[in-house]
């Protein structure tokens, strides 16, 4: 987000969940379908009040599955649409998330992560849904998941989630956690002139010439709004460019490859991460979201103790910024992967890192965040 010093920004003090709701509205979201679930409920609460004020629609559905269905339906009519949930609801939504991937319906799914599995710990932090975001729904498909760590980033990444969903015609996950969802801190709301809003590609051909999956328009074909005069078929089955089912192997292959390619060929354009003191680091910490804030303190404390530690924090967790990590891990003496789960991101680091150095986790569940000194202890063990 460009920072322009001449712009006077409004300063607010909102919990992360309210930031998500307000940023969604700023991004142009005009539909929320949901089913309240702690610790995400404030998002639904605020949307139920704010959406009618901007001529949007809020609907509380009978369950999480239906809520995801409502979001997909709203998206097909041309609205920017979202839902918000937490672990158990994220599990229920997986089938319809796959459907949204298959029909290429832009939408945003917020998961305010809590302790799991099952109903687990409704009111406390977990970061254990990151692999579910990556692999939760069946079949091959692209996955974009954003993991902000600070209030200003929660705002900007919420906007970016809508932009990426629209740009690539795909669901985008915004993964925060209970700590961020309920944490209030100083936030300067960016002025709308400071960020770009992206709209999905829409057809320019006549309705009778329109095919919803026409590859001649490139990897992201234009999508017509339902009820705008363009009639087309939508199915979760393998489909041809008209949208009707097909069992053609060639088309099955080329369409699935296109769906992956539409995101992965542009990954350089939206991949994002933060580095802190990595230039000369011997010990690299890799973590994301609120846990990265503990890691920031641990790095400073380690440096004060004469240990060259650094932090690599992916903001786009999926696709994982693997080239950068590969480069950073070349001359490293050890990697520490703190996460509020029993070891998930560490598998990705083991896959990507280019080193023989030890890769160790700091894993904590049970609803209390990882503290800086717990990371520092692990750093010291590696030196």
């Amino acid at each position: 987000m460009d920072k322009n010093k001449n712009i006077e920004r409004k300063v607010v003090f909102w919990p992360g969940n309210i930031i998500v709701a307000e940023a969604a509205i700023a991004a142009g979201c005009r539909f929320f379908g949901g089913y309240p679930i702690t610790p995400s409920s404030e998002i639904a609460h605020v949307m139920s009040k704010r959406l009618p004020e901007v001529k949007g629609k809020f609907i509380q559905m009978e369950d999480e599955i239906a809520a995801m269905g409502a979001v997909i339906g709203a998206s097909l009519t041309g609205m920017k649409a979202m839902t918000a949930t937490s672990g158990p609801g994220f599990s229920l939504k997986q089938e319809n998330i796959g459907y949204a991937c298959m029909i290429e319906a832009p939408c945003v799914v917020v998961n305010v992560m809590r302790g799991g599995p099952s109903t687990g710990l409704p009111t406390a932090i977990g970061q254990s849904d990151i692999m579910q975001a990556r692999w939760g729904t069946h079949g091959d498909r692209p996955v974009i998941a954003l993991t902000p760590a600070y209030s200003d980033e929660v705002y900007s990444e919420t906007i970016r989630a809508f932009n990426l969903a629209e740009k690539f015609r795909t669901p985008v996950f915004l993964l925060i956690d209970e700590v961020l969802g309920h944490l209030s801190e100083r936030l300067e709301i960016p002025d709308p002139s400071e960020y770009e809003l992206i709209e999905r590609p829409r057809p320019t051909v006549k309705p009778e010439d329109y095919n919803p999956y026409d590859p001649s328009f490139g990897d992201v074909p234009p999508i017509a709004d339902y009820f705008s005069g363009y009639r087309y078929h939508t199915t979760g089955l393998n489909h041809d460019m008209t949208g009707f089912p097909t069992t053609s192997q060639e088309l099955g292959q080329s369409e699935q490859e296109r769906m992956i390619r539409k995101v992965m060929s542009k990954v350089d354009e939206f991949e994002s991460y933060e580095e802190y003191m990595t230039e000369d680091a011997d010990i690299l910490i890799v973590t994301f979201g609120s846990t990265a804030r503990a890691a920031m303190v641990a790095v400073s404390d380690a440096r004060a103790a004469g240990i060259k530690a650094g932090l690599f924090r992916p903001i786009t967790l999926w696709p994982f910024p693997e080239d950068k990590l590969r480069e950073l891990s070349k001359n490293i003496k050890g990697i520490v992967v703190p996460e509020a789960n029993l070891g998930q991101l560490i598998y990705e680091i083991q896959r990507v890192a280019h080193c023989d150095a030890p890769i160790v986790g700091v894993n904590k569940v049970g609803g209390v965040p990882i503290y800086p000194n717990e990371i520092l202890v692990k750093i010291k063990e590696l030196v």
Binding site: F13, T123, L183
Partner: protein, 184 residues
Amino acid sequence: MSGHYEARFAAVGGQGILLAGDVLAEAAINYEGLYAADSPTYTAQVRGGPTKVDVIIDNKRIEFPRTTAIDFMLCLAQRSWDRFAKDLKDDCIVLIDPSLVHEVDEKYRVYRLPVIEITKKKMRKMVFTSAVSLGAMAGLTNIVKPESLRKALLKKAPRGTEDANKKAFQLGYDAALELLGKSG
């Protein structure tokens, strides 16, 4: 205030203590140009369950948003003390209501102030417990200026309750000064 300050407000759900945390944080941000982070802890029960809110104030951006060394703790329930009296600095200022909290570790700088009795007798509505508590905190500490806290409280107070909140804040403030042996 300079540097880094951590405060914890602990009570049971329904006493309105979460509001006190917000007021302190907003006083720091809006009237003193500081950074603040406010994290409430939710328990499964809403009313009657032990609850707390932690506020961190700093003159630079706050990295780790949870408390690790608490400078001030207000506590209005024994079971909240039993559960949440952790990570307090040895010289932590502890403000308790002696009718609700009976056993605390006396190694801290403990101040006993009848917040509930003051609220009940002089305000006649328990919703002003937070305002009385904030006033008392303003008298006992110098985290932010009393005037900043008062302004933040009045900004947050529902319309029509400003005068009553002002009065409640002053009652707490005066009682704290009396306790310290200073005149209001």
